[in-house]
């Protein structure tokens, strides 16, 4: 019997209640609430700095006593922030570029090739990001001073390369592994030399990984403290070092002044983040690492 529809059936019922796929449970409510609290706290902590920077003074209470913008002028002129901003910019760009230039090819080789000593090399290469920077910052600084680079911009760039490079390698490897080796073989069969293979095939495919690595590198360098702290002097400090100096200054830098300094830093970091999110989602890079 062929039929295009069932014969007699009961009259159409009321549609079943729409059930959302993820039901609202007690645990999920608590979790989202906790998450919300954390977000609020983070925003409060960061926001308070911004608010303080506009305060004449803020002794106690919910709100500053009065508002002003004079701290920004003072911060810009007197505290060396303007110099630090420039230094931070130079250092970040230099470190990211060098780390990418050295790290991406290294990541490629480590992902594709097997050779004697590979695992030892990988282990040594990962140590700088596994170990706290303090465990090697001092020795590195001592060495920099010994060869006469102490206090120079070059020294700051060099020391920040140490954790940046392994980070680039670590992120590049899974991205390279994702590219099937057959793609490279195909390119070679069709006549691509190694250079053409790299520029026309590999680089475009690796672009998201390179961008993700560059961004995470940038974030790391911006916030890098201990390494820069031990090799820099007042002319070659990055923003965070200058800010730390202001905060721990026994002479007592006024809180709003320090806050204004920090706001400069926040703006730079925010710009970096926004640019980052236009290009890729670093959360993906972190999740790929886990596979």
């Amino acid at each position: 019997m062929t039929s295009a529809s069932l014969s007699a059936r009961p009259a159409q019922l009321r549609p079943s209640p729409v059930r959302r796929l993820s039901r609202v449970t007690v645990t999920s409510v608590i979790t989202w609430f906790a998450g919300g609290c954390f977000v609020l706290l983070a925003l409060a902590v960061l926001g308070s700095v911004a608010i303080t920077s506009f305060a004449t003074s803020w002794r106690a209470g919910w709100w500053p006593d009065a508002f002003t913008t004079r701290w920004y002028g003072q911060a810009w002129n007197d505290t060396g922030i303007s110099k630090s901003l420039f230094v931070t910019f130079e250092v970040s760009v230099a470190v990211v570029l060098i780390a990418l230039a050295a790290g991406v090819p290294a990541g490629y080789v480590l992902a594709r090739k097997k050779f004697p000593g590979k695992s030892t090399l990988m282990l040594i290469m990962l140590l700088p990001i596994i170990l706290p920077t303090m465990t090697y910052a001092v020795q590195l600084a001592a060495m920099m001073y010994r060869i006469g680079l102490g206090g120079s911009l070059a020294a700051v760039i060099l020391v920040n390369l140490v954790p940046a490079l392994p980070l680039v390698v670590l992120i590049t490897v899974p991205f390279v592994e994702q590219i099937s080796p057959e793609v490279e073989n195909a390119a070679k069969v069709f006549g691509a030399s190694s250079l053409r293979l790299f520029t026309r095939v590999l680089l475009p495919l690796l672009a998201p990984g390179v961008v993700a690595a560059g961004i995470l590198c940038l974030v790391r360098v911006l916030g890098s403290f201990e390494l820069t702290f031990f090799v820099s002097n007042s002319r070659t400090q990055t923003l965070v070092v200058t800010i730390f100096g202001a905060l721990s200054d026994p002479g007592g830098v006024p809180a709003p002044l320090a806050a204004a300094m920090t706001v400069f830093y926040m703006i730079i970091a925010l710009i970096g983040l926004v640019i980052a999110f236009r290009f890729s989602n670093p959360a993906d890079a972190l999740s790929r690492r886990g596979r």
Partner: protein, 367 residues
Amino acid sequence: MANQTPARTRPGFESLQMRGVSRTYGQTRALVDLDLELTRGEFVALLGPSGSGKSTALGCMAGLQPLSTGSIWRDDVRIDTVPVEKRGFGMVFQNYALFPHLTVQKNVEFGLSMRRVAKDERRRRAAAALDLVQLTGHAAKIPSQLSGGEQQRVAIARALAIDPEIVLMDEPLSNLDATLRIEMRTEIKRLYQERDLSVLYVTHDQEEALSLATRLVVLRQGALVQSGTPKDLYANPVSAYVASFMGYRNLFAGHVAGRAEDGAVHVVADDLELVGRLVTGEDTDNAAQGTAVTIAIRPEDIRVAAPSASNAIQVIVEVVEFHGRELAVRARTSRGLAIHFKTDESVVAGHPATLSVPRDRVLVFAR
């Protein structure tokens, strides 16, 4: 080996029904007012291309997807509001979905331990299930140590171990290579017959559906198009769409040129002039001249014939494939229409031939 009580004496359902089920998410209408019935003991295959809604229907039946409208009934009890973990259907997934951190034994026992079956009985029933799929020695392995076919069999054993009243299967064979697919197909049929199961099976492969099912349901864009036994659908598809699924490889767009005395129609498509059987049309009895139609012919219904045969097609043979007992041939009419047919006569590429097809095997569908 005697295992659980024979199916017929097991308490169970008589019929499972989807009534007016729709499922819409975002802009996609995956199911549209679907009515589907599964009687106890049937092997129903949901057939259709991707996007036809067949996997969605299965997901709704299992409780993995909510309904936008409609209801699902087990006899006279409404079950679409019952969560998936309480429905008690066995399910085999397309990608097997074996728990990678558990051994084969623990995988198969999983459903039983969810039902708090005692340890000894759990072991026994899981071992029996593994025995059914002939994987007894592999109990201690973990899924990554198994081949694709073995993983598939574990997935089946896992679904059967809980002794479900109905097994849902979502394209279980599509990830296997050709030989294995055919072998596993026979296994599934054997299990169905031996264990007296009821099965709802989703596939896009008509050969699979035809060989396994007791009843076929063809879906298109979320709606039911035809439901019937494989034989019915094979011989009498109700539309060109169903025909295209049932191996009617020769499909031509044409129009009605006239009626014959006994109700047959003359149809014309390019340089084809045939007499056929009108299956659907606005007015089946009075198809007007010039009505646009689709002509559907199965390759196995076309024979090489003498030049004077009736309902003939003149062709030049183009490609000949050796298929063992017969040849699969593609030929072209003088206007370039491709005709697929099968024959055990020897034909040579590049040579002309005359083909003939019985008029009741030329199906004509109004467009």
